[in-house]
């Protein structure tokens, strides 16, 4: 599936929820189920200091695609990471660079991607794009 298709699928899923509580409960569940990043990648180098919650992100090449794994010490942040990973991982670098995160607004989580939120998510998206950029330059 393309990033766009995955994002549409996520928006669709979220449209089933009536209120914020259901959305948050879903994110919390996602946070609990996200496959953790390999401990060896939870290094100082891979850490995004978000002030409030910490985020670790690691990217790896898999043929012509990039696979991302990530983690956070806060569960809501981790749940949103799961959504972002679902959309952006295992995709081609050029597609990642072209994609945006507008779907996050549509699923009612806009405030979590605010630059003033200090949870590390904005920096994480930047990091994902940087991986893609570096990957593109290399190939």
């Amino acid at each position: 599936m393309t990033i766009k298709e995955i994002q549409e699928e996520i928006v669709d899923e979220f449209s089933m929820f009536d209120d914020w509580m259901q959305r948050y409960e879903y994110i919390i569940d996602l946070g609990k189920s996200l496959p953790l990043i390999d401990e060896k990648y939870k290094t100082e180098d891979n850490i995004i200091k978000g002030c409030q919650s910490k985020v670790w992100v690691h990217g790896e090449q898999n043929d012509d695609k990039i696979v991302f794994t990530a983690d956070s010490d806060a569960i809501l942040t981790k749940g949103i990471i799961a959504i972002l990973i679902r959309a952006f991982s295992n995709q081609k670098a050029s597609d990642i660079l072209e994609a945006n995160t507008d779907f996050i607004d549509e699923i009612g989580l806009k405030e979590h991607l605010s630059p003033t939120r200090a949870n590390g998510l904005v920096s994480m998206i930047k990091e994902i794009k940087m991986y893609a950029l570096a990957f593109n330059a290399k190939n």
């Binding site: 948050y24 002030c51 010490d73 569960i75 200090a118």
Partner: protein, 404 residues
């Protein structure tokens, strides 16, 4: 006795809804809300007397200057400073601390010591670190114990003739500890060290008496005591303010200027370069009047009641730990729940209309001491109610259930 319903009616923002729920504002340690008299006074200033101060011969300038100086006098009385010119208007606590740290650059030499405490806000750490880098002086830290109290026996041992300035907060922003500043001031003076008290978190709860304390400097912000943001006070003993060089150069702070030599204006203008926050300075006086009308004894008694009530209610929650259990503390509760990140709780209770601070509270060394990423901090003011505490405790319980 404090009539809570009457008080709450003074604060227009308290009727706001946030995320569809009535606002419960427990982030008073970050900034206080403003009563209608303060909001009205800002409007009145701009509608009726706005003009630049200390320079015009025209009537409005005179009115604005008078109002500004009347406010200075109110602050002088409020903190019991000896002279009005010992009260310097600043943009806030951080500004005041930087002005003094900067001034001490001309006094300190390599090998001298600057003493801070383990309980400080970053704004009372970083300016002194910068000063030490500039001068080669050493930063020395008074340690704290598990309860969040300064260890005075260690403080005694750290003091020496090398100590030139000791700078501690009156009340800790992260934990609410009320520090024994009178002891610290007297002891530091025995070694000839100056003492700066960061009163940012104290002034909402008490009326500092700077002459009785005998501190050399006392700094605080206006926005934490119902005043406008961008206002603050630096109190300094006359001899110190005369001794220290000005922090900023510019208009208002000079006596004469030529390209060969500038002489500085007398106090307090020497430390008040440029056009100040005139409206802010004037209205800070209005805010102080308001607080004195409510009465600090009433405020203290009532806030203590809120603190006790909230503490006992919160401790009913299993796995909840309060950080900062000093014998002497003000209406601040910093806490965590086992296995749950403070950010998660803060985010969920925000959805329920509750404003608290989460994170390290600009006091990372304290969080490092407890080996935690941060806490949830509820800080109460005299306009908060027990009903709000009930709503808050229920919200925390709900967040805990969702996140466990």
């Amino acid at each position: 006795m404090l009539d809570i319903n009457k008080i709450r009616a003074d604060f227009p923002i308290l009727t706001q809804k946030v995320n569809g729920k009535p606002l419960v504002y427990f982030d008073n340690g970050a900034t206080s809300q403003k009563p209608k008299v303060v909001i009205d006074a800002i409007v009145k200033y701009y509608e009726e007397i706005n003009a630049n101060i200390h320079r015009g011969v025209h009537t409005l300038s005179q009115l604005a200057t008078d109002a500004y100086e009347v406010s200075r006098g109110k602050i002088q009385n409020h903190i019991n400073a000896k002279f009005p010119y010992e009260v310097i208007f600043t943009a806030g606590t951080t500004h005041g601390i930087n002005a003094i740290a900067n001034g001490f650059a001309s006094i300190l030499k390599a090998g001298d010591e600057v003493m801070v405490s383990a309980l400080e806000h970053h704004s009372n750490i970083v300016p002194w670190q910068m000063l030490c880098e500039k001068t080669g002086a050493k930063l020395v830290v008074i340690p704290m114990n598990e309860e969040g109290e300064l260890i005075l026996s260690e403080f005694d041992k750290l003091l020496s003739d090398k100590t030139k300035i000791v700078t501690v907060n009156h009340i800790s922003n992260a934990l609410g500890t009320l520090n024994p500043i009178k002891y610290i001031i007297d002891k530091a003076h025995q070694f000839g060290a100056a003492v700066l008290i960061d009163g940012a978190q104290a002034v909402p709860h008490l009326k500092p008496n700077v002459q009785e304390l005998d501190c050399d400097f006392y700094v605080f912000s206006g926005h934490k005591i119902c005043g406008p943001t961008g206002t603050g006070v630096l109190y300094g003993k006359e001899e110190w303010l005369r001794k220290l060089p000005p922090y900023q150069g510019g208009g208002e702070m000079i006596a004469t200027v030529s390209f060969e030599k500038t002489t500085y204006a007398d106090l307090p203008h020497k430390f008040e370069a440029g056009t100040p926050n005139i409206a802010g300075g004037i209205v800070l006086g209005t805010a102080i009047d308001y607080l004195n009308e409510v009465g600090f004894e009433n405020i203290q008694a009532y806030e203590h009641e809120l603190l006790e009530y909230a503490t006992s209610k919160l401790l009913e929650i299993e796995g909840l730990r309060i950080f900062g259990t000093a014998k002497e503390k003000t209406s601040v509760i910093s806490f965590n729940i086992d296995g749950i990140h403070p950010y998660d709780i803060g985010t969920i209770i925000d959805k329920l209309g509750i404003a608290v601070r989460t994170g390290h509270h600009c006091a990372q060394p304290i969080m490092d001491f407890y080996k935690i990423p941060g806490t949830i901090r509820a800080s109460f003011a005299f306009y908060n109610s027990k009903e709000e505490i009930d709503i808050f405790v229920e919200a925390v319980k709900k967040a805990k259930t969702m996140l466990s």
